[in-house]
């Protein structure tokens, strides 16, 4: 394959570069046995709850095969290992750990946010009770750290994970406190503050996924730091794309109600950017008029956010962070094949086409 330029006759038979969906599936399948083994080692009751959260079973333990998410974080860990020329397998403990941390954070966040549904099924706390859901989250948290602690490069890899865990908690704290802040005035949430929250809440674990995969493959220093930073930018882009979908996304695709985030009064980037723009005063008046908007108010707010440039600003910010991630990745020596796979996943993720 190193001399295809000299063999034009075979060029047409070369496989097309893998799609993001195929890359994600490859990584998911690689990590699946280790993830299953880790979860199966838990206390039987907790293992059942973890299985429910991962879509592998129903309440009571009957096997199921519900959508388990795309496994973006585990894929980034595997690609991180490959990108520094390590074997994909080296990234697997990192893949398991970040997937467990992601699941833990969803379980606890659903309790904190009072979200009763998760991927079309009752959230774990609704299905098993708040106390058991707290416990299941704790168990996944502990299992994640243990999985990394048992690897050869335990020290730096655990530090990579704990930094992300600390940021995850900080981001969730910021996000919870944002709910009580006013829409306007000196106490209002600014765009910069929002992006810091998004980097912590969403970016830290994506950055950790890439970096821990590389660490576990033996990389150190500059490249690992760059991978972490690139993943953090990706996370902010991803969160902003999520915000745009949360207002204008097609409910049949997102699985969420149209204008859902506006209805809940969530402080998302398109709204904050619109409020900060010259044309944002009518939106500010509308949002400040009552604690929660009715259907007509929500539709009106969506129009006003768009008119004040909030949607455009959000898309621009997402692109800016994605470009920053690309630039960072281009600046370090990565194995070409995995780097290409990584870029494919990154663009698909930021465009939310996967």
């Amino acid at each position: 394959m190193t001399s295809t330029a000299l063999q034009p006759s075979t060029a047409s038979t070369l496989p097309a570069p893998p799609t993001a969906a195929r890359i994600l599936r490859r990584c998911r399948e690689l990590a699946a046995p280790a993830l299953a083994e880790a979860v199966d080692g838990l206390h039987p009751w907790v293992a059942e709850m973890a299985g429910y959260a991962l879509g592998r079973c129903e309440v009571g333990g009957a096997p199921a095969d519900h959508s388990q998410g795309k496994g973006v974080r585990q894929a980034l860990a595997v690609l991180g290992a490959e990108a520094v020329s390590g074997p994909a397998e080296a990234g697997v403990p990192g893949a398991v750990a970040v997937e467990l941390v992601h699941t833990f954070s969803l379980l606890h966040d659903d309790i904190m946010d009072g979200d009763a549904l998760r991927r079309g099924r009752p959230a774990l706390w609704k299905a098993y009770g708040t106390g058991p859901a707290v416990l299941a989250g704790d168990a996944l948290f502990a299992l994640a750290v243990e999985t990394v602690a048992l690897t050869p490069h335990a020290g730096p890899a655990v530090r990579q994970l704990t930094t992300a865990l600390g940021d995850l908690v900080r981001g969730q704290a910021d996000d919870l406190l944002f709910a009580d802040r006013p829409w306007t005035g000196p106490e209002a949430v600014g765009v910069g503050e929002y992006e810091t929250m998004a980097e912590r809440k969403t970016g830290a674990l994506l950055g950790c996924a890439l970096a821990i995969g590389a660490r576990l493959a033996g990389a150190s220093g500059g490249t690992v730091t760059v991978l972490d930073r690139a993943g953090r930018h990706l996370g902010v882009a991803f969160q902003i794309a999520d915000d745009v979908l949360g207002i204008w996304g097609d409910p049949s695709v997102t699985g969420k109600p149209v204008h859902g985030d506006l209805r809940q009064g969530k402080k998302t980037l398109p709204v904050l950017a619109a409020l900060g723009a010259p044309g944002g005063s009518e939106l500010a008046a509308l949002l400040g008029s009552s604690a929660s908007l009715d259907g007509e108010g929500v539709r009106r707010a969506a129009v006003l956010v768009e008119r004040a440039g909030g949607r455009t600003a959000a898309v621009r910010e997402a692109r800016r962070h994605l470009t920053a991630a690309d630039t960072l990745l281009a600046g370090v020596p990565l194995a070409p094949g995995p780097a290409a796979d990584l870029r494919t996943v990154l663009s698909a993720l930021a465009d939310r086409t996967i």
Copy 2:
């Protein structure tokens, strides 16, 4: 001091061996700056909640100085380091970590158990809400792992901590499930099963405290394993002593209502041992008669537990585990002074005189 036998005239001026309370205070004071520094680095809101949980402030952040517990776990970490001839300071990150884990587990257990009071004040979830208390627990958990991950012997020390964390969750799961099990019959909770739960829920962190202190001081292999096992036995003894106090303890000393555990229908060792004894049938009939006993029923149950030998069996089991801990410690080469301090703390702890 090595030749006191040759200097009888100075014997009367030798200081008395330190009491358990003094040893605990010394260790607490040694670890306090590092513990405060760790907590102060958290997100400000989370730091306030952590401060409240540690008795350092009121809701809103006003400084306070409430009873913060005896700091047994942090003392064991410091003594573990000293016992393997390391400097006390080497054990401090371990001391901070186990104290944070202990606090995290109290925060989450209070949610799971619905306990509204903790050390005479509203439990954190009552004072700040369930969601924030879940978050604060997560933050302390992450901080504990991070504290150990930043030490020179990070790998083995983190593994020591994650093993304990895994057991802690298993023990809490067992304990929650015990509540739904019957008092008698094939599904009843046996004494052996109870002790496994107690070892996980209480013993694992005490064992980890001793062992992590030793690990951080550079010890490895057999001695660390023995310290871990000794701490686990101590934990079971401690939990059983707690059970005895939960039924017959003086409310003015324990701060808990008399017969409190019987009133709540908790499956404690004195009751389980009594039910398994030949004279336990009247107790079984009483406990099986209704979901919760009234004041008269509770008093009667306490008499029946004692008459069937439940109290005696509990004290015997606690002593057996304490002896096992002593025997283990006597079988490894420990620095004499710290080993004596360790024994002082262990006996005081099992006797609940501290």
